[in-house]
Amino acid sequence: MDLQALWLTLRLAATTTILLLAIGIPLAYWLASTRARWRSIVEAITTLPILLPPTVLGFYLLVLLGPHTAFGRLTSRLLGHPLAFSFSGLVIGSVLYSLPFAVQPLTAGFRAIDAALIEQGRLLGAGGFRILTGIFLPLSVHSVVAAAALCFTHTVGEFGVVLMIGGDIPGATRTLSIAIYDQVQEFSYSAANRTSLLLVSISALALVLLYMRHTRDGTHHA
């Protein structure tokens, strides 16, 4: 068992999930509340990673983070190392790749809230931040938990983007899915089987916890 890869994968998934909630909650709030004409353009851009082949996204990110672009050179100078083939680069790739898995359930949850409650909040003097924290979030706990579970499990199982941006550096960018690929390449099928079972278990556990919460809350409200 590649414990280094396991730790790296969990660290990547946790960091990505926290960042995606921090980005996804205000973005979904804006999407659910705005009447701006370019809302549909923003919505389409955030959904795009679902349709893009991971290798395509990974390739463009590799180019963007590399030394041939101004952004790549700037970040390299600021951080003292290039983002490509580093853990930070993996985080950026994972956040972009899993963005729709955070934004979509959150937006759906926010849109399901009765508009009369939002109007009452406005009438009672609540500003945008208070409406988000005092009305939207408490009434969308299921959507927030679903978004977190989806982001975490999706990141745990990532392969294409991770391989393109991070390569296969033990301890730095080798995640469990890359480790499985390596084990298969070395014909270590039993090792690949153990690692695969671990990945399946992590994802299944996250989903079981999610559905247990749904069932418990459903019973409570009935």
């Binding site: 009369a116 409650l117 009452q120 909040g121 406005r122 009438l123 009672l124 003097g125 609540a126 005092g134």
Partner: protein
């Protein structure tokens, strides 16, 4: 210049209303679809009219000609809708306290108890909103709307769907309040005894304004005649 002057066109409906609020209680009376709720929503700041001007007590809340529109929560207006939208994740007490978080804990608790007491709902304080009955929800919604001490209260058919005893009890409590009110109703029996002025709204237009019993006398005679047939 009238206190309220609003022109607003929707797809199949045009609201054209102009009146002043000379009494403590003003009833907007009219049949369903007359534009009463749209009028209240515009006054509350939830909708922007095509053109209009609204002033309360010398304070201009809306003046489209001069691009003035005070946001909904800063108009010092309480608004209780027909279906009181209580926050379902909060208790009655927390609902009432929603708009007075700026008060310290002691003063906030006092204010909440006072407001719930006004509508005979003190015992409901710890009840989660989804566990309240229709009448209890209206009492809590009224207490919540009054908690920030608004200068004006908009009530959109607040007694609709209540049994007679609850409706009479809430109405008698409302009559004791020292707040100016705009009260929307289409039920003549409900408003007949109110010491109020009336604005009669039909198909989006004000067709009569004046003391309630004077303006609605003909309407009442017509209804009584229909009942006796």
């Amino acid at each position: 210049m009238p206190d309220i002057s609003i022109r607003h066109r929707l797809s199949r409906f045009a609201l054209d209303a102009e009146f002043s609020l000379d009494n403590q209680w003003t009833v907007v009376f009219g049949p369903s679809g007359a534009g009463k709720t749209t009028l209240l929503r515009i006054i509350a700041g939830l909708e922007e009219p095509d053109s209009g001007r609204i002033q309360f007590g010398g304070r201009i809340l809306l003046d489209t000609a001069n691009s003035i529109s005070v946001p909904a929560g800063r108009r010092s207006i309480g608004y209780v809708t027909q279906q009181p939208a209580l926050f379902p994740h909060l208790t009655a007490r927390e609902n009432v306290a929603f708009s007075i978080r700026h008060l310290d804990r002691h003063r906030r608790a006092e204010r909440v108890a006072e407001m719930l007491g006004l509508f005979g709902a003190k015992a409901l304080a710890d009840r989660p909103a989804p566990h309240l009955s229709g009448g209890e929800r209206k009492r809590v919604a009224l207490a919540r709307a009054l908690a920030p001490a608004p200068e004006f209260l908009l009530l959109d058919e607040p007694l609709a769907g209540l049994d007679d005893a609850s409706a009479q009890d809430i109405l008698s409590r409302l009559l004791l309040l020292n707040v100016r009110m705009l009260y929307v109703s289409h039920d003549l029996a409900e408003i007949w005894r109110m010491p109020a002025g009336v604005v009669f709204l039909e198909s989006g237009r004000v067709t009569a304004i004046g003391p309630l019993r004077q303006v609605l006398a003909t309407h009442r005679e017509h209804l009584l005649h229909q009942l006796s047939l």
